[in-house]
């Protein structure tokens, strides 16, 4: 049977992808950002996930204002990098796992999560930057990836509680898939940042680190943080952190942290990254 072995969370700051694509990772500005991913690259090479369910949000790339799905799952064979205005990132196509993705989609709908199903999807930096940061620059991604897109742009986004519950339902769906697969769930986005208005540039190191603390152990208090708290404390774009709760919800009652990284800044944003193991 398939099983969720680990959860991983990472910021998906576009400038991290640009720094890698342009060969700037050795610069003094970028070194502390990438240093926190070295452990991860070694660990991923050892743990070798078969499939990553990668929770992210689209940034006016595949979805515009014509269509705003709250939760959407990519069931296609292959997803090409989106052209976000500067040309597509020079990274490999993302290879899906349609059998597992359709199994999860069906299971979630029967579990009363009414998913949008996507077969054709261009994936933007929200999905490709975490892959780049965590795997490095490779000719092909070493795992299959199931994109799970969440609306965190047009209000209201889903509640943290709903995200956590979706993660729990994903775990049930994966556990009923009749193939032996090592599955990871990645939550992306965040941490504190605001890229609009006179308050732009907001960073909240203390709040971010309390959020990281809250992912570890057996408490589920993070699922009850209301949207207004993310907005006030972590900036208007800090709301992306609800996507990390899908990852956390998928890991069950308790977790322990294998690795943790936090750095300010990358571009306008606080970089956060954590790897969690479920405790049975």
């Amino acid at each position: 049977m398939a099983r969720i072995t680990h959860g991983l969370a990472s910021s998906h700051i576009p400038a991290i992808g640009v720094a890698m694509d342009l060969g700037k990772t050795g610069e003094a500005y970028w070194q502390p950002v990438f240093a926190g991913y070295q452990w991860t690259r070694q660990w991923l090479a050892e743990t070798r996930p078969d499939v990553i369910i990668l929770v992210y949000n689209d940034h006016a790339s595949a979805f515009d204002m014509k269509l705003i799905p709250t939760f959407a799952i990519g069931c296609g064979e292959r997803f090409q990098p989106a052209d976000e205005g500067w040309g597509p990132r020079p990274v490999p196509d993302v290879i899906g796992h349609p059998d597992l993705a359709w199994h999860i989609a069906q299971s979630l709908i029967l579990d009363e999560f009414d998913m949008t199903i996507i077969n054709e999807l261009r994936v933007d930096h929200g999905l490709t930057v975490p892959l780049s940061a965590c795997f490095g620059q490779l000719p092909q991604w070493p795992a299959k990836v199931i994109p799970l897109a969440v609306n965190v742009v047009t209000y209201p986004p889903p509640s943290g509680n709903r995200c956590w519950a979706l993660g729990e339902a994903i775990a049930r769906a994966v556990a009923s898939f009749r193939e032996d697969l090592n599955v990871q769930v990645w939550g992306t986005g965040g941490m504190s940042h605001q890229i609009q208005g006179p308050r732009a540039g907001l960073i909240n190191r203390e709040w971010d680190n309390r959020f990281l603390d809250g992912l570890v152990g057996d408490s589920d208090h993070l699922r009850h943080i209301p949207h207004i708290e993310y907005l006030r404390e972590a900036g208007s774009e800090g709301i992306e952190l609800v996507m990390w709760l899908i990852m956390r919800g998928a890991l069950g009652r308790a977790t322990r942290a294998l690795h943790r990284h936090y750095h300010v800044p990358a571009s306008n944003t606080a970089v956060g990254h954590i790897i969690l193991e479920p405790l049975s």
Binding site: P14, A15, Y29, H59, A60, D64, M65, K66, D83, E84, G85, W86, V153, T154, Y155, P156, S159, N161, S192, Q194, I195, Q196, G197, P198, R199, A200, G201, L202, I203, N204, R205, W207, R223, H224, H227, I228, L231, R232, E233, S236, V264, P265, S267, N268, A270
Partner: protein, 135 residues
């Protein structure tokens, strides 16, 4: 934990200093503005836009205020008129600006001062969480 009072939920968003939350009301007001921005995702449209902004805008049903704000690259005003930052990014990326460069224009700071603030740890949340509460 479900939200039962949508009016109270939305009203709180107006209490955050210097922040425009992209609500449904803004999404409705800015629908054509944001879709205009999306049209700049193709090289052909970017070339046409750069050649003649007025002619390009004539094809879009934006309000006069929205058109003037686009021409002026007044991003705070565009947020007020229903623009969303990820869509507005299509305008400033076409202008060759990075997010940091464009975002700094909304803060009243120079790019250098804004970047220095970020490297020093970013803008503190102290005093800018709530207008009414002043904390």
């Amino acid at each position: 934990m479900s939200i039962t009072d949508i009016h109270a939920y939305l009203a709180e968003f107006d209490d955050i200093p210097g922040t425009r939350v992209y609500t449904a009301a803004r999404a409705r007001q800015g629908y054509h503005l944001n879709q205009f921005c999306m049209s700049l995702m193709t090289p052909e449209n970017r070339a046409r836009w750069k050649a003649d902004e007025d002619a390009y805008l004539a094809d879009w049903p934006l309000s006069a205020a929205q058109k003037a704000a686009v021409k002026a690259r007044d991003y705070n005003l565009l947020l007020d008129l229903g623009g969303n930052i990820y869509f507005l990014a299509k305008i400033f990326s076409t202008d060759g600006l990075s997010f940091v460069q464009a975002v700094s224009t909304m803060t009243g700071m120079s790019v250098a001062d804004y970047q220095a603030m970020m490297i020093a740890g970013g803008r503190s949340p102290q005093g800018v969480r709530s207008i009414k509460g002043g904390y």
